[in-house]
Structures are given as structure tokens and as C-alpha cells.
């Protein structure tokens, strides 16, 4: 969906759902996700529909992901770091009535 205008930026290595990905130093996890080719970040709790980052300014909370073991972090507000493990958030297991 997005491409990098510069291919000479300094990079770090992160994993998204276990897949190794290069990310530019200083960019947000959401930016790295958009550049990775698959922008999906989570499934909604209500219908399980896929979502991708929408506002990239901390407002919409659509880019919630698990980052280094911590759930529901706003990927657009977290800067990538070498070795960071990012996971897409699955739909939470529903309550049994």
C-alpha cells in the first residue's frame, strides 16, 4: 500500500507476527506496518473484521497491536526498536452466555 521514498535510511529489524521486517530508524510501528505490504493490525472484538491504521495521530485507536508482549498499544504512537516483536491483535475470545 505504501512505499518508501528513500531506500538508504538507517534501519532496525523487527518482527510482525514472527516475520522479520526492516523498519526505518525513528518511525512508528504503524508506519513500519504500512510499509510491510500488509497493513492489517487487528481484528475487531465485535465482528472480527480486519482493521488497519486509520488516523496515525493517536485518535482513532484502530491500530491497537501487541508490542513486546504488551497488548492494545497504539502502533502509531510507539517508535520501532531493534528486535521489537509486534503482533496483530486477534479478536478476543467471547464470553459464553
Amino acid at each position: 500500500m505504501f512505499r518508501r521514498l528513500h531506500d538508504n535510511a538507517a534501519t532496525v529489524t523487527i518482527t510482525i507476527d514472527g516475520v522479520t521486517t526492516k523498519a526505518a530508524v525513528g518511525e512508528s510501528v504503524a508506519a513500519a506496518l504500512l510499509a510491510s505490504g500488509d497493513p492489517r493490525c487487528r481484528q475487531t472484538p465485535v465482528s472480527g473484521a480486519p482493521r488497519a491504521p486509520y488516523c496515525l495521530m493517536g485518535v482513532c485507536f484502530d491500530c491497537l497491536m501487541e508490542i513486546d508482549g504488551e497488548a492494545s498499544r497504539q502502533a502509531c504512537m510507539v517508535t520501532v526498536r531493534e528486535g521489537m516483536a509486534v503482533k496483530r491483535s486477534p479478536r478476543p475470545a467471547p464470553m459464553t452466555p
Binding site: 472484538p45 504488551e70 497488548a71 492494545s72 478476543p92 475470545a93 467471547p94 464470553m95 459464553t96 452466555p97
Partner: protein
């Protein structure tokens, strides 16, 4: 407007449940509500349909709460069936957790007293040790030493309940009709609300703390006061908790409600960070995995409390046709309000045993 049988003043859970019950008995009614911004304990409460802690030292309330819990499943099923609105009621029993040996012993003593008080009517609450509690709720923290379990307890979405009741009421529900005057007239009452005047043979004051002002319109003072409870709710989490308890319950949506403080701060329904922090701390002690959950909302809501915290049901002095229904437990008692209390109103007489709920009980205490 042609005369109604009964006007219900208040469109929260108490008023709406009573209104629903009256309508279900084919009475001509109107339910008058205040508007989008009201104190609205119905919107702020915790959602427990509760038995185990109710009516200590006051058997009439213990019986009434238990009766309501008994009729709740039928009430819920019928309401859902009539309206098509799910209310997420579940009755698997509920807990009260004990975080120390002392708390456990105190709780056990209280439960024993309740057993003695309720006698053959059956109270059915049991104390469980840590291992038993853990079998039913594996997520408990290391500090939990045990708890009491009551099979009659349950929980519901209070918001969905209110929505279903309003749906059932249909055109009888009048929002933005804050009552500005109540006048007596031959054979009944006229109620001025919003730009309309309603007339009926009888009225029910069911407006929570709003009952203070409504009773004054008829020259009566009610001994009720606000008590603030603050509540936190988390984001939707994967299901981990099958049972509700005082202070923690996972809703049908997966979010977890955490509560609740008891503060005497008048009509201030705001939140305070130190109180919220204490609630959070207690929740994490009970269920450590909650530490990582994100809080998405917090609010304060005002309980409607009589001095002994039990309900008040009575006619106002000099106005037999003006009945007060005021209580803290609009959720727990919704079943009994709809199915039983509405019946008493339809018949025009509260049962004799309801004399115990009259506010004159406080005069007796004062002179005793």
C-alpha cells in the same frame, strides 16, 4: 390528554420496571423521564442481580431481594421475547472474595447470621476455601484466601435492561419530561412535565434522588441521600471470568467493570484519581492479570440510600394515591418491581408486610 390510570415519575430502572409491569397488566400509564443528562443511577451502576449481601438484620428486604432473584430469569426471558432486545442476563451465582483470614472469618460469621435470620426460607450461601474458589475462577491472585458463593446471584447489562424496558414501554415513555409541578385534584393528580400536563388517579414516585424534590411537591420529606460510587471499565478482554462479584465483573462484551467506592460527597458524581487508584489496586490483588488491561472509562454515580440502605415503599402522608418506590437496587429488584410491585399498584394496595418498608421505621429507631 385522557386520564391515565397511573403516572410513573422517573424513567430509570425503577420507574421503567414498574411502568413495564403496569403496562403488562394493561393499565394506561405514562413514564416521565428527565432527559439526556440526568443523575441516572441506572446508567452508572454495576449490573449485579444480587442476593448474598442484602437484608442483613432486615428480613423483609432479604426476602424481597431473594424473591426478585427468583423471578428474574422469567422476567428477563419475557422482556427479551417481547422486545427483541437482549439484556445479557446470566445467573451462575456470584462471589464475595476475602483477601485475608480476618476477612474470611468476618464473612463466615456474617453468612452464619444470615442463615439464622432466614432460617427455613433458605439462604444457600456457602463459604469456599481458596482451592474451591480457584477451581471456579482460576485467575484469582495469591492473596485470595477464599470467599462466599451464592447460587442465586447473577448479573445483567443494566444499560441493555434499561433499553429493553424503554422499548417495551414504547409511546408510554416520555423523555425530556422533567416534572415541574404535581397538583392534587378530585380523584387524583395532575403532573406538569415539560410542556405537557398528565392526569391520573394515582402516581408513583420512582425518580431515584429526584424523589426528594417530587415528595416535597406533595409536602413530604424523604430520608434518602446520595452516596457516590466510582467505577472503572476496561477494554474488551478475552473471556476469563465466569462469575460476578462485588467489585469485579466481566460483561457480556468482555470488558471488565471494577468498583466501587462508597463516598459521602453530596451530589458530586465526578471521579477522583486516588479513589480510582484504590479500586484498581483491589482489582489487581483479586485478579493479577487485570494489571495489564487498559481502562477505557471511569465514572461516578450516586446511590440512592435510606439511612439503613434498604428500600422505601409507601404512600405519602395525606396522599394515598401517591406511592413512593425508592431503593438502591434498581437492577436486583427489577424483576420484583415489574412482576410483583406493579401488581400491588394495579390492585391499589401494598401488602401488609410492606409496612416494614415505610420510612416511619426511622422514627421508631430515633425514639427507641
Amino acid at each position: 390528554m385522557s386520564d391515565l390510570d397511573i403516572i410513573v415519575l422517573g424513567g430509570g430502572l425503577v420507574g421503567s420496571a414498574i411502568g413495564y409491569g403496569l403496562q403488562r397488566r394493561s393499565l394506561k400509564i405514562a413514564v416521565l423521564d428527565e432527559g439526556d443528562v440526568a443523575l441516572r443511577a441506572s446508567r452508572g451502576n454495576f449490573g449485579l442481580v444480587w442476593v448474598q449481601s442484602k437484608g442483613q438484620g432486615f428480613p423483609p428486604y432479604a426476602d424481597w431481594a431473594r424473591h426478585s432473584a427468583d423471578v428474574w430469569p422469567g422476567f428477563a426471558a419475557e422482556l427479551e421475547e417481547r422486545t427483541g432486545h437482549k439484556i445479557d442476563y446470566s445467573k451462575r451465582g456470584g462471589f464475595s472474595l476475602c483477601m485475608s483470614e480476618k476477612e474470611f472469618d468476618d464473612r463466615a460469621l456474617m453468612i452464619k447470621r444470615m442463615h439464622n435470620q432466614q432460617g427455613p426460607k433458605g439462604y444457600d450461601v456457602v463459604m469456599m476455601d481458596r482451592a474451591e474458589v480457584q477451581r471456579m475462577m482460576p485467575a484469582i491472585g495469591p492473596e485470595v484466601v477464599g470467599g462466599s458463593y451464592c447460587p442465586h446471584d447473577g448479573h445483567v447489562s443494566p444499560l441493555r435492561l434499561l433499553r429493553a424496558l424503554h422499548a417495551a414501554l414504547g409511546d408510554a415513555y416520555h423523555n425530556e419530561h422533567r416534572v415541574s409541578a404535581i397538583r392534587t385534584r378530585q380523584g387524583g393528580f395532575e403532573v406538569v412535565a415539560g410542556e405537557d400536563t398528565f392526569a391520573a388517579g394515582r402516581i408513583v414516585l420512582a425518580a431515584g434522588l429526584g424523589n426528594l424534590a417530587l415528595a416535597q411537591m406533595l409536602g413530604a420529606e424523604l430520608p434518602i441521600r446520595p452516596q457516590r460510587g466510582q467505577i472503572l471499565v476496561t477494554e474488551r478482554l478475552p473471556a476469563f471470568l465466569d462469575y460476578p462479584m462485588n467489585g469485579v465483573r466481566q460483561t457480556a462484551e468482555g470488558s471488565v467493570m471494577l468498583g466501587s467506592s462508597r463516598e459521602e460527597v453530596g451530589f458530586d458524581n465526578g471521579t477522583k484519581p486516588d479513589v480510582l487508584s484504590t479500586i484498581a489496586r483491589n482489582a489487581v490483588r483479586a485478579f493479577p492479570i487485570l494489571a495489564r488491561a487498559r481502562i477505557v472509562r471511569a465514572w461516578g454515580a450516586l446511590r440512592v440510600l435510606a439511612p439503613d440502605e434498604h428500600p422505601i415503599y409507601q404512600s405519602l402522608p395525606g396522599h394515598d394515591g401517591a406511592v413512593v418506590a425508592t431503593c438502591h437496587s434498581g437492577v436486583s429488584l427489577a424483576g420484583a418491581h415489574a412482576l410483583d410491585f406493579a401488581g400491588y399498584l394495579a390492585e391499589g394496595k401494598l401488602p401488609d408486610r410492606f409496612a416494614a418498608f415505610h420510612s416511619r421505621r426511622f422514627d421508631v429507631q430515633a425514639t427507641a
